[in-house]
């Protein structure tokens, strides 16, 4: 109001702001914007740089410069200040393949490559069709023959000699694979209106998700023999595998349920109006969509299971973690436990990190096709 009555002053335009920089910011500008934009950021940057300057050379020195990089007896390691990678040279075959007969270890090696190959092949979208239903059983049977032998001129190797990476991969991959159909049944059951089926599925899922994997493994290793009829015994490895399947099924079921819930109601109604039965509409309309959008969270569940298989060492199964424990308990090499753990940590990291990157990429990829504006 005051402005209106105020007369006399002429409008003076403020000076135009300079045009934005046409060139990309130089490194100095980048530094200024990203590291020193405020006084406290500058302080934090300096502290971090100081810490890194102290730590990185020391770590690099331990890992690389001062480390022993060649096969050598344990005594030679006492001379060096850095890491003793001779430990890994000495033990890598034991860590990867456990007590599998030494001269036959190309077999678990080939099985591991085949396992990884199966998983990698299944990651490509063009492969998501019925061919997977052929590739997987064939691949698994070949893996089995490779590991177990007894035919095709391969020596029979009983499964108590298997160990290391093949066991870890087998428990995780077969665990999730066989849990998958169970999880779909559980998820459908949980969304069913049949009260007893629903109660059963809810009870199963919540019970398993509420207890640690160790208790399920204990149950499989200690209680399961009591459940079986007198005289029937089931192999220790198989019992652990069943426990992992039961455990993974509950977690995957919740993922699948999320996918079912995300399908718009119209899809269900459309299927019904086409005159499809419940199973037809599920198999041809709902599940293909629901499963597709849940692939990224399924991959994440798989990563979790892959890490969790390491718990089987507590019930005495010779997985990758167990072989590492045995390897670092060798009297001569006991001082080099860090090298052993770092080696195994890198293996786990490579598997998990690449899968999680894949899952992130896939999420974007799938989202693109589905996004509705």
């Amino acid at each position: 109001m005051a402005d209106i009555t105020n007369t006399g002053a002429n409008f003076v335009p403020t000076e135009a702001r300079p045009a934005p920089l046409a060139v990309r910011p130089g490194p100095l500008t980048w530094l200024k914007e990203n590291l020193f934009n405020t006084w406290y950021n500058a302080l934090i940057t300096l502290i971090v740089i100081w810490a890194l300057a102290n730590w990185i050379p020391a770590l690099f020195d331990w890992f690389v410069t001062s480390a022993l990089w060649e096969a050598a007896p344990a005594d030679a390691c006492r001379e060096v200040a850095g890491a003793c990678w001779a430990f890994v040279y000495e033990k890598w075959r034991f860590i990867l393949f456990g007590t599998y007969p030494f001269e036959q270890q190309w077999r678990p090696g080939a099985a591991v490559i085949l396992f990884i190959g199966l998983v990698v092949v299944s990651c490509f979208k063009p492969m998501w069709n019925k061919s997977l239903l052929v590739i997987w059983p064939v691949g698994l049977v070949v893996c089995w023959i490779l590991l177990s032998g007894g035919i095709l001129g391969l020596d029979y190797v009983p499964n108590n000699l298997w160990g290391g990476l093949p066991i870890t991969l087998m428990l995780a991959v077969i665990g999730c694979l066989l849990a998958f159909p169970v999880s779909i049944a559980l998820a459908l059951g949980r969304r069913s209106n049949m009260p007893i089926i629903k109660a059963f599925c809810v009870g199963y899922i919540e019970l398993i998700r509420g207890v640690p994997l160790i208790t399920v493994l204990f149950m499989a290793s200690v209680m399961f023999p009591l459940f079986m009829p007198e005289g029937l015994t089931i192999d220790k490895l198989l019992r652990a595998q069943v426990a992992i399947i039961m455990f993974a099924a509950a977690y995957l079921a919740e993922v699948v349920r999320g996918g079912l819930q995300a399908i718009p109601k119209g899809q269900y109604e459309a299927a019904d109006s086409m005159g499809l039965s419940y199973w037809q509409s599920m198999v041809f309309i709902i599940l293909p969509q629901a499963l597709k959008i849940t692939i990224p969270p399924q991959v994440n569940t798989f990563i979790g299971m892959f890490k969790d298989t390491s718990l089987v060492l507590i019930v005495g199964i010779f997985d990758l973690m167990f072989t590492m424990r045995v390897a670092i308990n060798d009297l001569e090499w006991r001082a080099y436990y860090i090298e052993g753990m770092v080696f195994v940590a890198i293996l786990y990291f490579l598997f998990c990190y690449s899968m999680s990157k894949y899952s992130q990429w896939l999420e974007g990829e799938l989202h693109r096709g589905h996004k509705r504006l």
Binding site: F94, T99, P101, F102, W144, P158, N159, N160, L161, I174, L178, P181, V182, A185, L186, G189, F200, C201, Y204, S221, V222, P225, E230, G231, L232, T233, I234, D235, K236, L237, L238, Q241, V242, I245, M246, A249, I314, V315, G316, R325, V326, N329, L331, R334
Partner: protein
């Protein structure tokens, strides 16, 4: 869905090994013969008793017992596969039939004999619970251990003896319990504990084989318990039970009669001692009575020697004197019933 899991289990069961092992008399033995292999539960790695080298070949006193048993039953000491078991895993594994026999320095106690559905074939090694400490700590007796941390394997008689004895003597201590032997050893040798307690024989084995420098460690003379260690079987097969007992006694009897792996052929040919002839199959049908070949004991002795030879090969390198394990004729308590 339990239903589906079981279906899945059944499907994979075809691939993995499922074996039926009823426990009627003689059927455990039949199963071993049918399989043409003895499955023997052993320690996860205890020098002198049961340990695998880097090629996976098992050696040790408990292991030789299993080989001798396989030789007696199947006629071939290599027809045995070894399953390493932790102290916690051993009984469930035996009960579930994963192993035919447990030859894994297991203490014979009333509770175990009566309540585990299993039974002991005899005493393969008389032991007692002892203590190992660092030499530099200057511990001479239990009373010096007040305030110490004690490493012990969980699920063992050792754990219970320790608690009883220390409580009775009013010694305050911090128990550090691990499930796996390897964890216990790491913790002790890295200095997490001042004291490591288990059977004296195992202490000797660990000191010789696992200590960075054996001279830095001392085993105290105090023993706080009786630990008769022996092979353990599931109940219900008296034939197998008799064979496992007599494999043990044959080794003892051979030592008592002076039969060794070196002179066994000579003894069989020339000995006039009727006991020796009965033992080695020169006369009588002792093997047939057990359901074995008549030369079963001869085979064992020519391959492994008598009890004393096995002891010398496996246990003596640990620095353990015969002690209680000497024959009754030499001041020990090892004694075999007569072979007749």
């Amino acid at each position: 869905m339990k239903k589906l899991s079981i279906a899945a289990a059944a499907a994979s069961a075809i691939a993995l090994t499922v074996s039926a092992m009823p426990a009627q008399a003689g059927e455990q033995l039949d199963a071993i013969v049918d399989r043409d292999e003895l499955i023997c539960g052993v320690n996860t790695g205890l020098a002198g008793f049961g340990i695998a080298d880097s090629q996976g070949v098992w050696t040790g006193f408990d292991v030789e017992y299993c080989r001798a048993l396989a030789l007696a039953i199947l006629g071939d000491s290599s027809k045995v596969s070894f399953v390493p078991l932790s102290s916690v895993q051993r009984f469930p594994a035996l009960q579930a039939g994963e192993v035919d026999i447990l030859s894994r320095n297991t203490t014979w106690t009333l509770t175990r004999d009566a309540s585990l559905g299993a039974t002991f074939a005899g005493t393969w090694f008389y032991d007692g619970q002892g203590f190992m400490v660092r030499a530099e700590d200057g511990i001479g007796s239990l009373e010096d251990m007040n305030g110490a941390s004690v490493c012990v394997e969980s699920g063992t008689t050792t754990e219970l003896n320790l608690a009883d004895v220390f409580a009775a003597r009013g010694i305050d201590y911090e128990p550090v319990l691990f499930e796996a032997l390897q964890e216990v050893l790491t913790a002790f040798f890295e200095g997490r504990c001042d004291v490591y307690t288990t059977d004296a024989s195992a202490l000797a084995a660990v000191r010789t084989a696992n200590a960075p420098n054996p001279d830095d460690y001392v085993i105290l003379p105090d023993l706080i318990s009786k630990e008769p260690l022996g092979p353990m079987l599931r109940r219900g097969d008296d034939e197998l039970y008799a064979i496992s007992r007599w494999v043990l006694f044959a080794a003892l009897e051979a030592e008592e009669k002076g039969v060794t792996s070196e002179n066994v052929d000579d003894m069989l040919a020339n000995s006039t001692d009727p006991t020796v002839q009965r033992l080695l199959g020169g006369s009588g049908e002792m093997g047939a009575l057990l359901g074995l070949r008549n030369e079963w004991a001869y085979d064992i002795i020519s391959e492994f020697g008598n009890y004393g030879e096995m002891y010398e090969r496996n246990i003596t390198p640990l620095g353990l004197p015969r002690g209680l394990n000497a024959l009754w004729t030499d001041g020990g308590i090892q004694y075999a019933p007569p072979v007749r």
